[in-house]
């Protein structure tokens, strides 16, 4: 077998035992890896509560992991989300995936539950369980300092997860977060404090020459992308480069999505951070884009905030201090807490209480959230549960319990549809319509129209599902396409494949998630946006009109999507579609 290692490590924490599963080539080829293979395991326990010992946490690589295929250094982590009850998953950078693959594993499936805090160490085929009682309570930075992973990859949780924050994250290699869905809490529930992985092997590639050619094609395309490699692109300024664009397009969520323009934005942009912190390039192992930025202040290095963090800790909560953003980012990462959800919950609180924030208050509330103190206990539930508890559910700007990222959907109809239909809740990455609605790739679409968007969203969801399975970074697809990645995949695995074959696999992977969600009671009612977006306009200018989203046009597009996706009018999976895609069918 080429590309895949052929081994999946199954860990039972209750028994502190391991098993090795060796799925056949057919399984690998059908589910690819990453999100696909992880979803296959998640489906087997789909109806269990997220905190049931039988619920799995899956950490998977893909066939491209550990090869020279560009941007293949990401891992995919899945479980059931404690925040939403949906499929909970996150793509994470760093070197976790590469080290895991080099250790000889395509993925890890963790089930059971430890009675005491535990660390899992994997060095090639050796798996050990370490007592982590002394590390319990430490933040992720301290854990990193204590363990000193060296060349190994370290994934750990912080106090936020231990204290039950519903949007707790997993921090990998200090700077990379599996941020959304509350996966940190999934680890904490099983009493896993950390995972340390190192490997010395190599991925087997069927046709290295062909892979090198595919790599050159992809690099040539990314070099031609202003968003990725241009002097204002991600490689130079990080994802924060998007900040000015969102302001310029009047899509910056401001005051908990009550406005779409933040008047202070021009002095809070990526250029401002670059001037103050002189960030250096950093990124996932093997990546040439290197979008992660590490800045310096008073001789100390620190991760620069990503775009969503920059936007939500300024415009969304009404603050105008870059230092606060850097500190909030650092604190969230140390505590192991999703920045988007944390800031959104604070924005929700601000709207409900009418109380503005000082930087100190923001930091103090972040502490309270992570440590489960006072008001922080309620905030730790996330915006949806918090707003409901406060008797103001309309103030939660979330879809299916997950807070929305920093793209206001009134400024992009595809984004509105993508948010509503996403299988993990308010997520911009499932369909990533920002690619064509804002970045003009592969070509520009009319951001103020729903015309054609139902099919575009469906195809993009399939594409991103398989991208998260191969694995590659979604940013690359601002430039390259599945056409080039299919060639890379074929070169690695030796199995003939095409862009269209990969899209079909993506469709299977995504439909499987719709089935898992449906088995947990989700349907068309949940595929919706907060009412505000249909009733209140954004911040228009003379040339850019941001009206409320046309409710009927939205519903029509959603209906079309269900038809195109092969779902019932109620948004539920259908037996014939599932069977046509080769998926197991449960009566819903």
């Amino acid at each position: 077998m080429y590309g895949w290692a052929g081994n999946i490590l199954v860990i039972d924490l209750t028994k502190k035992s391991i098993e090795i599963e060796t799925p056949g080539l057919d399984v690998y080829n059908r589910y690819v890896g990453g999100k696909g293979l992880g979803g296959r395991y998640l489906r087997q326990c789909a109806t269990l509560p997220w905190d049931h010992p039988g619920m799995v946490i899956c950490i998977f690589t893909g066939p491209l992991t550990g090869t020279i295929s560009p941007t293949s250094g990401r891992a995919h982590i899945l479980s059931k989300s404690p925040l939403t009850g949906l499929v909970g998953d996150s793509s994470v950078g760093g070197k976790l995936a590469t080290r895991l693959k080099r250790a000889g594993w395509d993925g890890i499936v963790i089930k059971g539950k430890s009675n005491t805090p535990v660390g899992i160490t994997i060095k090639d085929n050796r798996v050990e369980f370490q007592d982590a009682t002394e590390l319990w309570g430490l933040d992720t930075t301290a854990v990193h300092k204590k363990i000193r992973p060296g060349n190994a990859s370290l994934a750990s949780i912080g106090p936020a997860a231990e204290n039950g924050v519903r949007f707790a994250s997993i921090i990998v290699d200090r700077h990379f977060a599996a941020g959304r869905s509350g996966l940190g809490l999934c680890l904490a529930q099983k009493k896993i404090k950390y995972l340390l992985v190192d490997g010395t092997g190599h991925s087997k590639v069927k046709d290295p020459k062909k892979l090198k050619e595919a790599r050159e094609d992809i690099l040539r395309l990314t070099a031609a992308s202003p968003a990725l490699m241009g002097q204002f692109g991600f490689t130079c300024l990080g994802t924060g480069a998007v900040y000015d664009l969102m302001d310029n397009r009047r899509m910056m969520p401001t005051d908990n999505f009550r406005h779409t323009r933040f008047e202070h934005a021009s002095r809070l942009n990526a250029a401002a951070y670059a001037k103050t912190y002189e960030p250096k390039k950093h990124g996932c192992l093997g990546c040439h884009i290197l979008c992660k930025k590490i800045g310096t202040s008073n001789g100390q290095s620190m991760a620069m905030p990503e775009f969503e963090t920059m936007s939500h800790f300024t415009a969304l909560i009404g603050c105008m201090d870059t230092k606060l953003v850097v500190k909030a980012n650092e604190r969230c990462n140390s505590f192991g807490m999703d920045t988007i959800s944390a800031a959104s919950t604070l924005a929700c609180r601000r709207e409900i209480t009418g109380l503005d924030y000082t930087p100190d208050k923001v930091l103090s509330l972040l502490n309270d959230m992570a440590l489960g103190k006072g008001e922080g206990k309620d905030l730790a539930l996330g915006a949806t549960a918090y707003a409901k508890k406060m008797g103001a559910p309309q103030a939660a700007m979330a879809v299916k319990g997950m807070a929305l990222p920093a793209y206001d959907p009134r400024g992009a109809c595809g984004m509105a549809l993508g948010y509503a239909l996403s299988t993990r809740g308010g997520c911009h990455l499932r369909a990533y319509p920002i690619s064509h609605e804002i970045f003009r790739k592969p070509v520009a679409t009319d951001r103020f129209s729903f015309s054609g968007k139902a099919r575009i969203i469906k195809i993009a969801e399939d594409l991103n599902a398989v991208v998260d399975s191969l694995i590659a970074c979604k940013f690359t697809f601002f430039a390259a396409g599945l056409e080039e990645y299919a060639t890379a995949c074929e070169a690695v695995t030796g199995i003939e494949t095409s862009a269209q074959d990969l899209l079909k696999k993506g469709e299977r992977i995504y439909y499987n998630e719709r089935i898992i969600n449906a088995l947990n009671g989700f349907n068309a009612r949940d595929d919706d946006l907060p009412k505000r977006f249909f009733t209140e306009p954004g911040s228009s200018t003379k040339n850019i009109h941001i009206p409320p989203i046309n409710r009927q046009a939205f519903l029509d597009a959603k209906k079309k999507y269900y038809t195109i996706r092969g779902l019932s009018p109620k948004g539920l999976p259908k037996k014939e579609t599932a069977q046509a895609l080769g998926l197991l069918w449960n009566n819903l």
């Binding site: 031609a224 968003a227 241009g230 480069a241 998007v242 250029a271 520009a444 054609g452 038809t563």
Partner: protein, 411 residues
């Protein structure tokens, strides 16, 4: 969708690739929950099955008008007479093909299964049945999109451009090496009448200095439109920029030069914003050119004979060159078209990006050709100077090309 399929059918006609009636009438299908076509046609029953076999949202079908049809037919025949490795593939070496299309697959039958088989891997397929097939008149190009019919339009535009460039460069090289066939001679002679005559009259463009920002936008929009109108670029390609009050105004990536309204990014020269994130891929080259030369306007088009001549290299020298498979990035020779330097470089900012070669070249002349890609011209104050230079360089290249052909055919 209806609006989009009609828009891009019209654009294919305006681009000189299709016609409003007859065989070269574009056929475009767009699919959301239902499939719509811009017109009725016999080909639809096959193309509907192509839709069924692929995860796409649009298909563009075109029998390109002359000279493209005959050129593509000729190249397609060559593709079926080539080595096993490149059998059924046209392999142009221009920048667009290298970067975005990789190669141009050809099949002989207008059959859904075969079209699907090719489009699963590539953005386009050429159907060239040859002379014996009475059921389907070729050649035709089919291209698909997953987001918009614009993708198919762009691909077909690129296929036609690449085919044109390939035939004329191949023919020159064939004459230089004494390998030109009678068919190639005949085709060359037959397509000459289809070439648009050279424009002699320079357009009147908005004069500088530009009093307001609004005038800057208007000047850029006008320069883009005229560049397309004068045949100096196919509408989708190229880029335009203008420096005004410390800000570079530049066309956005993937914008059509004849539709620049709303597609211009202001990029402050002091780097105080990253609004240039959606600017042209050549933003870095434009900024460096402005810094190196002090010019105020930059025009970039793909005039065909400038591109063709940029790829002309003495066959004996080429054979002896260590970089003869990497001319586009590593050509070691100082080459000129008249006084216009020809430089290597790829799109964008990579290690071999044209941002590393072009700005320096433009300090020596007011124009520079990037190998197999296109022509950049600068204006000290406005677009009139850049436009005049672009027309003059293209005229020079076209005349030089035909002089070479005449000379070689005599000898």
């Amino acid at each position: 969708m209806e609006q989009l399929v009609n828009k891009y059918a019209d654009k294919l006609v305006k681009a000189g690739l299709g016609q409003t009636s007859g065989p070269a009438q574009p056929l475009i299908g767009g699919l959301d929950d239902t499939l719509v076509w811009n017109r009725k046609a016999d080909e639809i029953h096959v193309l509907e099955n192509v839709f069924k076999g692929l995860t796409i949202n649009s298909l563009v079908f075109l029998r390109p008008k002359e000279p493209y049809g005959n050129l593509i037919n000729f190249l397609a025949e060559g593709a079926f007479n080539s080595t096993p490795k490149s059998f059924g593939l046209i392999q142009p070496k221009d920048c667009e093909t290298r970067t975005f299309l990789h190669d141009l697959p050809v099949i002989k039958e207008f059959c859904a299964d075969q079209i699907v088989r090719v489009l699963k891997k590539r953005k386009s397929v050429i159907i060239a049945p040859g002379k014996t097939n009475d059921n389907f008149k070729g050649p035709a190009i089919v291209a698909h999109g997953t987001v918009s019919p614009e993708q198919g339009f762009v691909t077909i535009s690129s296929v036609c451009f690449a085919s044109f460039i390939k035939f004329f460069t191949d023919y020159l090289e064939a004459l230089q090496t004494g390998t030109a066939t009678a068919d190639a001679h005949d085709l060359f002679d037959s397509v000459i009448p289809y070439l648009a005559p050279m424009q002699k009259k320079f357009p009147e463009l908005i004069p500088s200095p530009f009093p307001t920002e609004e005038t800057v936008y208007s000047a850029i929009i006008e320069a883009g439109q005229k560049t397309v109108e004068y045949g100096l670029v196919d509408s989708y390609f190229g880029n335009v920029s203008c420096l005004w009050n410390g800000t570079l105004y530049i066309s956005q990536t993937g914008s059509s030069l004849d539709e620049l309204s709303g597609c211009i990014d202001p990029v402050p020269m002091d780097g105080s914003t990253s609004a240039g994130l959606t600017a042209s891929s050549e933003l870095t080259a434009h900024l460096a050119t402005i810094s190196h030369t002090g010019c105020k306007a930059i025009l970039h088009g793909h005039p065909k004979f400038s591109v063709i001549l940029s790829m002309d290299c003495d066959p004996a020298e080429k054979a002896a060159c260590a970089f003869n498979e990497q001319c586009h990035i590593k050509c070691p020779k100082k080459r000129f078209a008249g006084s216009t330097p020809i430089v290597p470089g790829e799109v964008g900012t990579g290690p071999f990006g044209l941002c590393n070669t072009l700005p320096q070249a433009l300090t020596q002349a007011e124009s520079a050709i990037v190998y197999g890609h296109g022509l950049f011209t600068i204006g000290k104050n406005n677009f009139s100077e850049a436009f005049r230079t672009m027309m003059e360089v293209e005229d020079l290249c076209r005349n030089t090309y035909f002089e070479k052909i005449r000379f070689l055919r005599k000898t």
